[in-house]
């Protein structure tokens, strides 16, 4: 019974996938053209064109072939406008990780202090409330102006957008550590540093990790837009470049890759969250 249930969902997923591909395939079939009226004209412009206009939107087979081609050679580098999709993804992931880790380095300690002290919380709250809703891309011109480097600016934008969820979740997690655990530490005369690292940090870890998981999701969303703006390298720039080349197959391939990488990042953080979460 259980094994049957375990199979149902993947089977249904596969069926849906096939159905979608089927619909996509049907919609992108070459339109049945009327028989050429003028054979001479047909000979002039070429048989294919005369036989019927192929749909501008690529068929699943076209995209599949493109993906296969990218998989064959993901890391080639033939100049600034022609790099393999693997290289572009690597650039984006590197930027996301740089901005994200910097944000974690700032957000977790600061969030910890905010969570420990109601005074610090009230003092910083207005800043957080105003800064949090600003679209990270709005910082881009300011970053370009002050940092004078497009790649560093992209990292800065990632930093800003990853900061808030981690900061707020850390503060919340630290502030809502169960009173009893703190009381245990107090009755054992545990010092403030030891309490912070041995009691508060593990107690707040699941909430902090949830914030980090939200952040990586946002960072991955923002990097594509940021790279479209700053250009040069990265999967966002790749998409924009292929739009200029009018290569819909490449764009679709990139979209698929963006989704897969985002999913992998999320899975990794979910796994880490599970590692630090203990049921009571």
């Amino acid at each position: 019974m259980k094994s049957l249930l375990n199979w149902k969902a993947p089977a249904l997923s596969l069926a849906m996938f096939l159905l979608l591909i089927g619909i996509w395939h049907a919609l992108t079939l070459p339109k049945a053209a009327p028989p050429p009226a003028d054979t001479e004209y047909a000979a002039l412009i070429g048989a294919a064109a005369a036989a019927g206009q192929k749909s501008a939107f690529p068929s699943p087979a076209d995209v599949g072939a493109k993906i296969w081609q990218h998989l064959q050679e993901p890391f080639y580098d033939r100049g600034p406008n022609d790099k393999g999709i693997g290289i572009q993804l690597a650039y984006s992931i590197a930027r996301v990780l740089a901005g994200y880790l910097l944000a974690a380095l700032v957000a977790v300690p600061v969030g910890f202090l905010i969570g420990m002290s109601p005074t610090v919380y009230r003092a910083l709250d207005p800043y957080i409330q105003v800064l949090k809703p600003i679209s990270p891309l709005a910082w881009m011109p300011l970053a370009l102006f002050t940092l004078k480097d497009s790649s560093v600016s992209a990292i800065f934008v990632i930093f800003i957008c990853s900061l808030w969820p981690m900061l707020i979740n850390t503060a919340f997690g630290v502030a809502s550590v169960r009173r009893e655990w703190l009381n245990v530490a107090r009755t054992l005369e545990v010092g403030p540093m030891r309490t912070a690292f041995r009691v508060i940090l593990p107690a707040a870890a699941p909430t902090i990790m949830t914030g980090m998981r939200i952040s990586i999701g946002i960072a991955w969303l923002v990097i594509v837009a940021a790279e479209m703006l700053v250009g040069g390298t990265g999967i966002g720039y790749f998409v924009w470049n292929e739009w200029n080349n009018l290569s819909i197959t490449n764009i679709l391939t990139a979209i698929l890759a963006i989704g897969l990488v985002g999913m992998l990042l999320d899975l990794m953080l979910a796994k880490l969250t599970r590692l630090v979460t203990f049921p009571e």
Binding site: E180, W181, V184, R186, T187, L188, V199, P202, A203, P279
Partner: protein, 305 residues
């Protein structure tokens, strides 16, 4: 009086409500605990028992009055007074061993990891949890969790153990087993204990003295009942002793009727010396006339032990 371990002098607790009015939960409480003594506190829900325990532990401050431990005033939590929390308060990210080792290494920071583990193991064995060292709290039953809590409190070798209804969340069977274990451990270690309970039989089984509190607000200590039964009592032969029903009737009579009426009845009541009564010695067996009062003075404990 010199050997008194804990001396409570006139403590009170007020809470200020949202509308700014003060409620006095209890006031003018006086009592003492001798070393090696097992004292139970009984009273109706909300009379401030947990608050008293928190004040004794140093986790909360009294609004008035003082608590002295070994002659020194309490002004914060201390390793001298270990607390066993009602909800066990184990840290779910640590194993059984980890939870106890955390306490041990807090008590003796200079100890090596091996020494800490060996010491913790001794107390895991003491509460019969050998073999469960690597389990996390989520994998333990309620009774096992409470055992870990007891082992953690005992492992720091405190002068005094404070327990807040440690067994109230357990089923009757587990509770009985744990009560006997606490009885055994306290006999072995001659531990001084202050325990809150709702259970009259538990108090009679474990306590040398039972403090009775009236209902709040403005709760008082109505009297202190001396348990005159021999200390070698067990759960099975408890009810065979002639003192048992006298003490039990006296306690239940208090909880059912007198805890409410107390304020009206007591005219010459002196909160500094709550009457010390020994219903177990009372031959007449009458519940109401039962309390043979010995105002102030020393308890007849020496004769009992």
């Amino acid at each position: 009086m010199n050997e008194t371990l804990i001396r409570v002098e006139g403590i009170a607790k007020k809470f200020t409500g949202r509308d700014g009015t003060d409620t006095t939960v209890f006031e003018n409480l006086h009592f003492g605990i001798q070393p090696g003594e097992f004292v139970c506190l009984i009273g109706h829900s909300g009379c401030g028992k947990t608050t008293i325990l928190n004040i004794l532990s140093g986790l909360e401050q009294a609004s008035a009055g003082y608590v002295f431990v070994g002659g020194r005033e309490v002004n914060g939590p201390s390793l001298d007074r270990a607390v066993i929390f009602q909800s066990h308060a184990l840290m779910p990210w640590l194993t059984v061993m980890g939870n106890i080792a955390f306490a041990v290494s807090s008590r003796w920071p200079e100890w090596s990891a091996d020494k800490v583990a060996a010491h913790a193991q001794k107390y895991i064995d003491l509460v019969n949890l050998t073999g469960s060292e690597k389990k996390r709290p989520a994998e333990l039953s309620g009774g096992m969790k409470q055992r870990v809590g007891i082992a953690r409190a005992l492992s720091i070798q405190p002068k005094m153990l404070l327990m807040d209804e440690p067994f109230s969340a357990l089923d009757a069977l587990t509770r009985g087993v744990l009560q006997e274990e606490v009885l055994r451990i306290c006999a072995e270690t001659r531990q001084t204990v202050f325990m809150i309970t709702h259970d009259v039989d538990e108090a009679i089984l474990l306590a040398d003295k039972i403090i009775l509190m009236t209902n709040g607000p403005h709760a008082k200590i109505a009297e202190i009942v001396v348990n005159t039964m021999p200390r070698s009592r067990t759960r099975h032969d408890l009810h065979k002793h002639p003192h048992y029903y006298r003490i039990r009737n006296h306690l239940i009579d208090f909880l059912v009727d007198r805890s409410k009426l107390f304020a009206a009845v007591s005219a010459e009541f002196d909160p500094r010396h709550p009457p010390l009564v020994s219903p177990g010695l009372d031959e007449s067996d009458g519940a109401d006339a039962g309390a043979r009062s010995q105002t102030g003075g020393t308890p007849p404990l020496a004769a009992v032990r």
